[in-house]
């Protein structure tokens, strides 16, 4: 019972961001910097991995439709710069370089993210907006590179036995040889999946297109 109370005291739910209509055209929101509050986020980010914040928006009211927005954050360890890329509905892509995490938080507060492009039929109607926000710790390219690296790891003992230098270490090739443990290698490498480390779900019921009281 005490533990439960303690957990209740510690637990702070992430504040739901407000939806803002931009130019009578887009639904936007400010991604709460709290989405990056994961303990391992900083360590992963500073290892050079690309953290993706994926927002999937589902709109109900007229018909069931969805859109995806994406923020990719990569830390250039050599240059010590945070490289942020933003992909928004309507095909808008923007880049920004930030010096540190504080600047990133400020950028989150300052710059809204478009999550849905509205059409005329959406206006002045009661709409239900559901947003699923996923924080994925690495990109697809990094997933594939690690899969290839992991697959080649299995070749290292054989190569070492033959007195050869590991190709993996020399980065000569990332292709896998079909040995006796080929199936085992495939099974193990496919266990490296791109899954979110944290997921938030928000829901609003709003009417867009008229002045709010």
């Amino acid at each position: 019972m005490n533990v439960f109370l303690l957990l209740l005291m510690i637990w702070r739910p992430l504040e739901k961001p407000a939806l803002i209509m931009e130019d009578q055209r887009f639904i936007t929101l400010h991604v709460p910097p709290g989405v990056l509050a994961d303990d391992d986020f900083k360590r992963r980010l500073f290892s050079g991995l690309t953290t993706s914040i994926e927002l999937e928006t589902e709109l109900r009211g007229v018909s069931k439709e969805s859109a995806v927005s994406l923020i990719e954050i990569r830390y250039d360890v050599w240059e010590e710069l945070l490289l942020v890329r933003k992909f928004e509905p309507g095909g808008t892509v923007s880049h920004v370089s930030l010096a540190n995490l504080d600047e990133l938080r400020q950028w989150f507060d300052r710059v809204p993210l478009r999550i849905y492009a509205l059409s005329a039929e959406h206006l002045n109607r009661v709409l239900t907006v559901k947003v699923t926000c996923r924080v994925i710790p690495f990109s697809k390219a990094e997933q594939h590179q690690t899969q290839a690296w992991f697959a080649n790891l299995a070749e290292v003992p054989d190569a070492a036995q033959r007195g050869q230098i590991s190709r993996t270490r020399n980065r000569e090739s990332t292709s896998t040889e079909n040995g006796g443990n080929g199936i085992f290698r495939v099974l193990m490498t496919t266990s490296i999946e791109r899954q979110s480390v944290v997921t938030y779900k928000w829901r609003w019921t709003e009417t867009f297109g008229r002045e709010r009281p």
């Binding site: 360590r43 085992f184 193990m188 999946e193």
Partner: protein, 415 residues
Amino acid sequence: MAFKEHLVSLSLMMGACLLFFQISQRGLSDPWIQLALDPEVNEVLSIAIQNQKKLSKYEPEREATYRAQFERTQGLLAHREVLLANRGAISRRYQRVLFVLFALSLCMIAGVQLWRQRNLRRRMLVLQHNLEKLAVGATDLEPVAPKRDLVTRIGRMIEEASQLMAKDRSRLKYLENLEGWRESSRRIAHEVRTPLTAIRLELRQLVRLAHGASDGDMRDRIEHKERSITEELARLSEFTDAFSSFAKTSAPKRKREDLTAFLGEFQDLYATAWSNLTLSSTLAVDTLLVDIDRRMTRQVLVNLANNSAKALDAASGTLTFDLRRDRESAILEIRDDGPGIPESIRDRLFEPYTTTKPVGEGMGLGLAISRKIMLDHDGDLELLGSGPEGTAFRLTFPLAAAPANPPESAAIHTD
């Protein structure tokens, strides 16, 4: 045990093995995964890349080298971070793969075991059927698939027992049949001999009366007829003797003999007995001790040689004796290069009164008597084969006692 019971017990064993593996494998695999994905290593790598950066600032002329080292280390760190993020999934997959591999191996072992069990059961059923057949005296046994196991050995023993039984039955049947023939011969000999003696006495009386006759011409004619009748009576007497001899074939008086030496003596003694026949032999060097009646055994050999010589007619040929040891028997194969025995009589060759000779030239009792002699020696006489290239007989003698250490079998050839 029934197949279903095996299946149930194997399934239970497999289940227990899988459960034990599942319980223990986590404890076995987790430390290794922990070791491989130790977050401390990542921290060290992180410090290392920071150091590379610092070093490049201190030694700008070597920046490219440090940058390359930096990128390599950073790449490694990134890969490890990806793995660390998937640690749970990797661990689960690893355990699942091992579990499936273990389960597959068990299934394979169980499958092979069941297959072996089923196969063994099938072979045991064949043995059971063969034993049942053996019990009722049937000889058409099913073959047991040959393998190096006890079932094959038992199957072979059943087969041997069946062959022995079949041989004994055939021998018994032959002897019973022969006994019938001998009884008939004895009766015929007796029935013929009595009037034959009376005729002979009456003939003597008639001749005596004729000697008293005054007519010389008549006397001559009677004497001539008397000689003619006496000749016919002598022939009849020969036949009666043959019948009688067949009927009175006595039991052999067996003595321990070395068959090799016996055959050598026979060859020396009868080397010139048949003008158209040359005796040749291939005799085993080692001693083959058998319990035989010398006289009767010689009679068998003489009988066979007589037949060969008569079959050759005017032509010349060779009679070969080939003696060898076969397990607990001495095998003597006698083959000639004569014209062979007609196929029509081969099946009943050892039955009395079976002959290829013209009427009046032979009774066809020689081979029947010879086989009877061999059977009385607990051996046998068989026709091995016959054709235009010659005829071969096989004589089997049971060995009296095997030498303690039989020398390596070798053969010498003498003509």
